[in-house]
Amino acid sequence: MIGILKGNVGNKDRDFFAMYNLNKLSKTDTPCCLFCDYIDPNFVLPVDINILQRNHIFNFDGITITDDLMISQDFLYATYNHKRFLYLYHLEWPYINGLHFSHLKKVLFNDSIDLIARSETHATLIEQLFKKPKYIMPEWDYNILREIDNNE
């Protein structure tokens, strides 16, 4: 089972593509759910999957994926998860205020957290800076989500 971890879901590109593909995934035999704090009432897509509060991630024993570098700090303590993936959707770390290398190191070099890149170009950069991404998933492609569920 795949659980997607997010903070607030709103009309942002990565939330749009995530929800679009999760809705498609829900129509396959791969079970999935969303852990989040809040969904914007004006969000443009319907949400056809199960939604749980974010803190339930700590009791979840499936495969967890987040695309939020800040929220990925929670990952460190979500040890009950079967597998943890950080999807570096936007290469956003240079824009984090007061960024300290130790924050990146804790998550991105963590042996129990695997990385997912959005494209080959991203993957090359991520491998040079951190470690080799295990999967390349263009815009939350639900076929790759299914592949992850089958492989892991």
Binding site: L91, L99, F101, S102, H103, L129
Partner: protein, 288 residues
């Protein structure tokens, strides 16, 4: 002998403190950091009875006049220009540009750059931090000139950028502590030094550095992208040139360009020859 160092944001003071800490058992000194935001000068004197104290010009107030009458101590003044003082300093520690402000009757020591050995000595290679090019942004604003160089380097080589000033490149990995900084330097193949201050540490760790500003005769500099490219390629692909350059820079560091040498000069000036000698011996023992 008790030596008090105020915990002010002055790099030279921290460097002196680190050097003294590493030799304290060899020459019977007791270096203490004084948190001057928490404890007043008078309380500090009452509690510690210092033999030597470092004081910034802003700390020479009425309380200082009082303690200079009641206690017997030497002090090293950190200042850029002369000022009326109730007790003459044993020496003055000043910046290179302010040396000319001082007259001959007070020993003046210039706070020069040098390898901060006490911070970096135990650095080791770490494959997760490895790079071909390392850039540090600790020296303040990113100028347009610097931005262009970083842009070239990040697009042409396996580059990592670390430091206090953020730059909008994906290769920027944030601020680092002294241990991470040392490991990053040790794990890179070439350090690009835009401020002329980081090359000393790289040279000590036997990592070649190329400087934007001249630091010493032996260090390679660059004035344009073409020149930088030629020098980088030489260091990445010509092993003989690389080894020779590394050895030359390492020798330059050992010939008086470490913070131990700066601290030793300071203590020599105030006739504390035993401490100066111990600092010299200590740094000599570290030489590989």
């Amino acid at each position: 002998m008790r030596i008090i160092i105020p915990n002010l944001a002055i790099p030279t003071l921290h460097n002196v403190a680190r050097c003294l800490e590493s030799i304290k058992n060899n020459c019977g000194i007791e270096p203490l950091l004084w948190d001057c935001t928490q404890k007043s000068l008078i309380d500090m004197f009452d509690e510690t009875h210092p033999d030597i104290i470092f004081l910034h010009s802003s700390q020479l107030d009425a309380a200082f006049s009082l303690v200079s009458q009641e206690f017997n101590f030497k002090y090293i003044l950190i200042a850029d220009q002369p000022m009326p003082v109730p007790k003459n300093p044993a020496a003055v520690l000043t910046s290179p540009s302010s040396t000319k402000n001082w007259k001959d009757n007070i020993p003046v020591v210039v706070a020069t750059d040098g390898s901060r050995i006490a911070e970096i000595h135990s650095a080791s290679y770490d494959s997760t931090m490895a790079s071909d090019i390392l850039i540090q942004t600790n020296g303040g604003q990113i100028t347009n000139d610097m931005f262009n160089y970083i842009s070239f380097l990040t697009s042409s080589y396996h580059t990592k950028v670390i430091g206090e000033t953020p730059v909008a490149f994906h290769q920027y990995l944030g601020k680092v502590n002294i241990f991470e900084r040392a490991t990053f330097i040790k794990s890179t193949r070439i350090l690009i030094d835009f401020y002329g201050t980081e090359c000393w540490d790289a040279a000590y760790l036997k990592v070649p550095a190329i400087c934007r500003k001249k630091a010493a005769d032996n260090f390679w500099e660059f004035n344009n992208i073409k020149e930088l490219e030629v020098r980088i390629d030489a260091l990445l692909h010509n092993e003989q040139k690389r080894s020779k350059y590394i050895e030359e820079c390492y020798e330059t560091v050992y010939n008086g360009n470490t913070q131990y040498h700066v601290a030793a000069n300071l203590f020599q000036c105030i006739n504390e020859n035993n401490i100066a000698q111990t600092l010299h011996s200590f740094v000599k023992e570290l030489q590989v």
